[in-house]
Amino acid sequence: MQARKVRPGISFEYIMWVFTRLSGFSMFLLVILGMLGALYMGARLQMDLPTLMRWTFFPNPNHVVNSEIPDLTLGWATAFWQVMQILIIFFASTHAFNGFRVVIEDFLGDGVLRVLLRGLIFLFWLCSLIIAIYVILAS
């Protein structure tokens, strides 16, 4: 099978299609970086596996209750890791809300409801992103 040569026009759907792939791949890189960072800071001696996973995705003291996190909190409380957290939460939430939009719009025709739900998802995305970044910067 020879791949067809099609030059797609730049549209919102095309940009989000590309973004979904790029953000998915960059989340892989960020998670590997976070896990290696945690292991380097001593997680392999001080953490169990679920704690390591949790801490990898979102290293923030407000997001864990029972998990025992020792001195690692000191290691993660730097500007570098805050930027990494903001990046991962931006990629994750944009990827997720766009996917939600795609799933919902598969079941909708063109109409008022489509525009309304699109607007609601956009507001929800913006709200979640702002709150998440606030939590990161305020802790």
């Binding site: 792939r21 791949f25 989340m27 679920p50 923030n60 997001h63 998990s67 606030y134």
Partner: protein
């Protein structure tokens, strides 16, 4: 998108799409699951941090339960590996010739990773770390 469908729900269930359709369905369901989980999590963290309320703590206690983690780890590892397969197949369309083999390869990679994670989860949760 937005086309008229004349297929009923039960008729749709009888469609034999096989492995790739199952992967597509699981990818959508796991994506929605992650959205729910991470979305609630953001708000739980916010309430824990700002008001110290019990709502946030309750969410996080459910989430940290090791039984719940079995599901969460399945969803996340599956979504990640399936997404990687989609990225590879989309970036190099020549590989679409081997898409069924790619799906098998994906499950062969998934099973050991998930199995090992669940084994560690069980052994530390039942015996005590």
């Amino acid at each position: 998108m937005g086309q008229k469908r004349s297929v009923g729900f039960f008729q749709g269930l009888s469609y034999r799409g096989g492995g790739p359709m199952l992967a597509w369905l699981l990818h959508r369901l796991s994506g929605l699951g992650i959205l729910l989980l991470v979305g609630l999590h953001i708000y739980a963290s916010f309430f824990m941090q700002q008001t110290g309320s019990d709502i946030g703590t309750a969410f996080n206690i459910v989430y940290e339960n090791w039984i719940f983690q079995i599901l969460v780890i399945f969803i996340i590892i599956f979504h990640a590996l399936n997404g990687l397969r989609i990225i590879i197949l989309d970036t190099w369309p020549q590989t679409l010739r081997f898409q069924r083999e790619a799906l098998w390869l994906q499950w062969f990679i998934f099973v050991p990773i998930y199995g090992l994670t669940i084994f560690i989860l069980f052994s530390t949760s039942l015996i005590g770390s």
